[in-house]
């Protein structure tokens, strides 16, 4: 299969990196975004360490390198919006303000986890933040989010639903059905694809005829934006445009944010399970497009970030991560009765 790229420089690790344009976004907000990206990275690094040590047993899919997407899109949302994630959803959970202790506890299978220890890394839940659940069946939450948007529309609210999924998920037929439904019902849903150019071990050129996926939304008459997902500012602004349209009742949007995962598909390694055609040069090139460093550089050059401030952020965040992890470790495992108590809303029925 020859490479037919429509993404061009966005997907080419060797293309020159544009300096991040901060537009006229206020420093306070950008610093907050930076802090959130750092929080995601450090929390995920801690998860990676727990996987490595064997402390975390459930499958963990890290989004290190992709923080710009989660922070960019969540910046355009409020807690009343409805985000649904997939297997790689720690970043969105944290970007929406999800509690770190609860996330670590969930990953460790503890009762104080986001899902009472019933779901692990792939099943996070924090509806109070707007994070309404994540599941690892690829594309599984896409139609569900369309239904959440239908509910929002029926309520007459300006709430927006946001399924976040991957380039691989676009190969599931259900996504196309969901796009059509959203389109004909003019639903307030913004589909977000983290196009990290890989689905497990296969790069997108082994799976699809083009490297961009926005074409699927266009075929369904849905407004699209294609952005550099490692540019948190561009991602946020594009998301804001689509969210605003959806809130106004003008129908669905589709954001394709191009990014790259630094680690393997699942687990902590950078050198295993990364992609059958992935080279260490490719990873190195993408690392140079680090969404965090690019924001730091831009903030420093705009003098919004002073000497040592970034270090202070990372140190502070590391403290948060460490204490959250310590708290999670303290927590208890769920009681055995949880196994049968949560199958149905009411006592197992009929008796």
């Amino acid at each position: 299969m020859e490479l037919r790229t429509t993404l061009g420089a966005l997907a080419d690790p060797h293309s020159p990196i544009e300096p991040l344009e901060l537009r006229n976004l206020p420093a306070s907000q950008l610093t907050e975004d930076l802090r959130t990206m750092v929080r995601i990275r450090q929390a995920e690094a801690a998860v990676g360490d727990m996987v490595e040590s064997g402390e975390a047993k459930c499958p963990c899919h890290l989004g290190i390198g992709q923080e710009g997407v989660a922070v960019g899109i969540c910046g355009a949302l409020t807690a009343k919006d409805r985000l649904y994630g997939g297997h790689r959803a720690h970043s969105q959970y944290i970007a929406l303000g999800g509690d770190l202790t609860a996330m670590f506890a969930e990953i460790l299978g503890k009762q104080t986890g986001t899902s009472k220890g019933m779901g692990g890394s792939m099943h996070l839940y924090a509806p109070e933040t707007g994070f309404h659940g994540s599941v690892p069946i690829v594309a599984g939450t896409v139609p569900v989010a369309v239904g959440a948007a239908l509910a929002a529309k029926m309520d007459g609210s300006d709430v927006v639903a946001v399924p976040v999924f991957g380039d691989g998920a676009c190969e599931e037929g259900g996504v196309h059905e969901a796009l059509n439904m959203a389109s004909i019902m003019t639903l307030p849903v913004v589909f977000v694809v983290e196009n990290n150019l890989y689905s497990s071990h296969l790069d997108i050129n082994l799976r699809q005829p083009f490297d961009s996926v926005a074409r699927f939304a266009q075929a369904h008459g849905i407004e699209t934006e294609v952005v550099d997902g490692n540019d948190v500012v561009a991602t946020r602004l594009a998301m804001e445009r689509l969210v605003a349209r959806a809130r106004r009742g003008e129908g669905p949007g589709f954001l394709e944010a191009v990014t790259y995962r630094w680690r393997g598909h699942v687990g902590h390694r950078e050198d295993i399970d990364v992609g059958v055609r992935r080279s260490s040069e490719e990873v190195a090139a993408w690392r140079a497009r680090d969404p965090i460093q690019r924001l730091v550089d831009a903030l420093i050059s705009r003098k919004d970030l002073g000497e040592g401030e970034f270090d202070a952020i990372t140190t502070h965040v590391q403290g948060e991560v460490d204490s959250a992890l310590a708290a999670a470790r303290q927590a208890d495992y769920p009681p055995v009765k949880a196994l049968l108590d949560m199958v149905y809303a009411h006592a197992a029925g009929g008796r």
Binding site: Y84, G117, V135, V142, A149, A151, G173, E177, M342, Y344
Partner: protein
Amino acid sequence: MAVMSYADGILDGFRYLLRTYPKCFTIGQGLWSPWYVGTTMKDLDEEFGKERVIDTPVSELATTGAAIGASLHGYRPIVIHPRMDFMLLASDPIVNQAAKWRHMLGGGVSPAVTIRSIINRGGEQGAQHSQALHAWYAHIPGLRVVMPATPADARDLLISATLCDDPVIYIDDRWCYEWTDDVGPISEQPLEQQGPKVLRPGTDVTIAAAGYSTRLALDAADVLEASGVSAEVVDVRVLNPFDPDPIVRSVEKTGRFAAIDGGWSTCGFSAELLATVAEKVAPQMLKAPSVRITLPDAPAPTSKALEEVYYPDDNIIAERLRALAA
């Protein structure tokens, strides 16, 4: 008390729900057509509006998934699959999503969706347009499965299902639509309190069945009575979670058990019924091996010459039961 058909029972259930609960809506293929699902949803779109009675593209997966999504935000959607065969395309949202979200997200999430699935067979419709896969759904913890056999249940179990906080598969059978019965006024019943019911008392043999098969069981019991065999008929009603007690009690009394089921035998609901009796009734109390009466192990044929033998009728059933009671 009013005399009501099964089809009208369903329609009445929908009307009650849509009238009483603003958060109830229904979605699926055929809902703007006056006959797609028989008369069971006739003119609901006109009475309650096309925003609450939603016809859809041919997209079983997304339609079902979207209904689940709406149910997570306070709605009470009833998804319509005009044929159970088509619902196979929605297996992921039903089994991987609806059945599991509560448990795997820690108990706080209610995928309170009702999925109405219609068994639509006979009439030479053939292998892809005839299936009765209730056993599949009964196999899945997290799903509740109901199969009404009477006009009252057609209405009342639809209401109980829709008001239930869990995902419910509500299975009706077009072969039941014309039955009529006396039906009392609506009173909402929590689904978790519903279970099997003895519809006809008897002493010689226990027959358990659900949906259309319950009707066959009742008819066969009539035939048997003429030969002096007294059959007790238990209508299962709720296939999952399944309460075996009424059946166990009955078999302990009669000493003989037969399951009649409109699905296939292997791992079917009839297998569950026999297994339950085998587990819970002491062998000494049984006077004969239990019996399953089901479809043959074949896809549905079309030709009427084969349809006639494919679907067991009350006389064939009575004959098998007479042998059991002998």
